[in-house]
């Protein structure tokens, strides 16, 4: 029993040895003056910056506004992508009309339209939300569309034989059948959401994490820049964890996710 516990502790310790060693060496290098603090501040300096921006409320305020933009864009772009994916997946005429155009637009890197977006919206909120929405629309659209299309036709036939209405067929057969694919799309979209927001905020914003880091760069506050990067990493990780929970809840029936649950 205690041997197993010891084994687990040593497993965890092994995972942390390298990152901790890097942190310590980095700290020592910065303190000894071997590293230029202007270019790469010590971990302790970042911790101090974290405490400072936390206590004056600027970190919370900027994180909040960034999260708000991300979620608004996700909600708008995600809804449009989901709606189009369902529509084109279920209804051939819509697919013929829309799909090839959407595939064409998908191949335009959405960050390439930033100059246009600045012309349209200036640096107002809409610019960031619009960019995020465009960015998340396509992965959600594609995966929803493919999910709906790949639902086993045998199950749909079974549903018809057993007298399901169109609505019941959609809610009980098609939507749950497409759900694994839709959630993969959501996960992709979350990655794109943060990426888009970082770029949009560093280019045109007067608040948010991206603005905070760009502003800090102007004043050579490298510790704040580093802090901003860490916050982005944490937000990304948080979003990923939330989707994984969502997957485990929504796909509890799926053998793959049952195994993952058993391990965890």
């Amino acid at each position: 029993m205690w041997q197993a516990r010891l084994q687990r502790v040593s497993d965890i310790a092994q995972r942390w040895i390298l990152p901790l060693a890097i942190l310590i060496i980095w700290e020592l290098a910065a303190r000894s003056g071997w590293l230029n603090q202007r270019l790469l501040p010590a971990p302790s300096a970042v911790a101090v910056a974290f405490w400072r921006s936390l206590s004056d409320g600027s970190l919370a305020a900027n994180t909040l506004i960034s999260t708000e933009r991300a979620l608004k864009g996700m909600l708008i772009g995600g809804s449009i992508g989901f709606g189009l994916g369902i529509l084109n997946g279920l209804w051939r005429p819509a697919e013929r009309l829309l799909d090839s155009s959407l595939q064409m637009l998908r191949n335009v890197p959405h960050l390439a339209i930033i100059p246009l977006v600045i012309l349209w919206f200036g640096i107002a909120e809409e610019a960031k939300v619009f960019l995020v929405a465009i960015g998340v629309l396509f992965p959600i659209y594609l995966n929803t569309y493919h999910g709906v299309r790949n639902v086993d036709p045998g199950l749909i036939e079974m549903g018809r034989v057993y007298g399901l209405s169109r609505l019941a067929l959609f809610t009980r057969v098609i939507l749950p059948g497409a759900m694994p694919s839709i959630l993969i799309g959501l996960r992709y979209a979350l990655g794109i959401m943060w990426l888009t927001l970082i770029v949009a905020e560093t280019i045109s914003a007067s608040s948010g994490i991206g603005y905070m880091t760009m502003n800090a760069r102007e004043f050579l506050q490298t510790d704040i820049v580093l802090l901003g990067i860490i916050v982005y990493a944490l937000l990304g990780k948080l979003a990923d964890t939330l989707t994984r929970w969502l997957e485990q809840y929504a796909l509890a029936w799926h053998p793959n996710y049952q195994k993952a649950e058993a391990v965890a």
Binding site: E157, M158, Y162, R172, P176, G177
Partner: protein
Amino acid sequence: MNRMALADHPKVWPEDDAVGPQEFSAQKHDLPIRLDGVSKNFGQRQVLLPLDLIIPAGQFVAVIGRSGCGKTTLLRLIAGLERASSGAVFVGESRVAGLQRRVRLLFQDARLLNWQSVLRNVGIARGHGWQERALKALREVNLLDRAKDWPSVLSGGQKQRVSLARALVSEPDILLLDEPFGALDALTRLEMHELLTRIWLENRFTTVLITHDVSEAVALADRVIVLRDGGIALDIPINLPRASRSLGDAATGRLQAEILKHV
């Protein structure tokens, strides 16, 4: 193997199972099926030649033939999943023009919704009191204890039992079976035969079983129809008491040999 399995369950069938295929008592769930000059072609390919067939109410018919002989098409025509190229299919008095509530179909694969519990799969049509009816159907197929499980943890035989329960929930007049036991191992298949026989004897719905297995056809049906090249090559009654239809039985063996000649 067959005889051993039967010896283990000597009381699978009621004592008075000397009922011949001709004497069908009027039970509650049965409707006759009639095909009048029904043919089917997909484009240029003629799958079924025009054929006439009457299946009396409550009869258990097995249709056998090689793959591609049109047996599944015949079943789908009765189910209303396909439209006849000529002629007409009648269920009871009404002409089949689409899917019917009185007809239930078991597929080759169980076709369960993996994202719903066994109980919700069985009660897929919902409706008034569906949970009680689904539980009752699960009890009939001996799967009451799996009601809350996901279908993915069930074995192949259990999945087909769930899909049988799903068909039973709506108390159909006609049960159509499209090789539902084809993918099961031999022992599980024997269990399914016993289960299906018991349920059929209790309900007496008109039943059409598609199979490529002659021994399965002879073990289960009142009447065997052999389809070959889109037409009926043999139409033969099975007048043996169900309890004596085992592998070693001489009369059963003769019938099987006779049918095999026509497949």
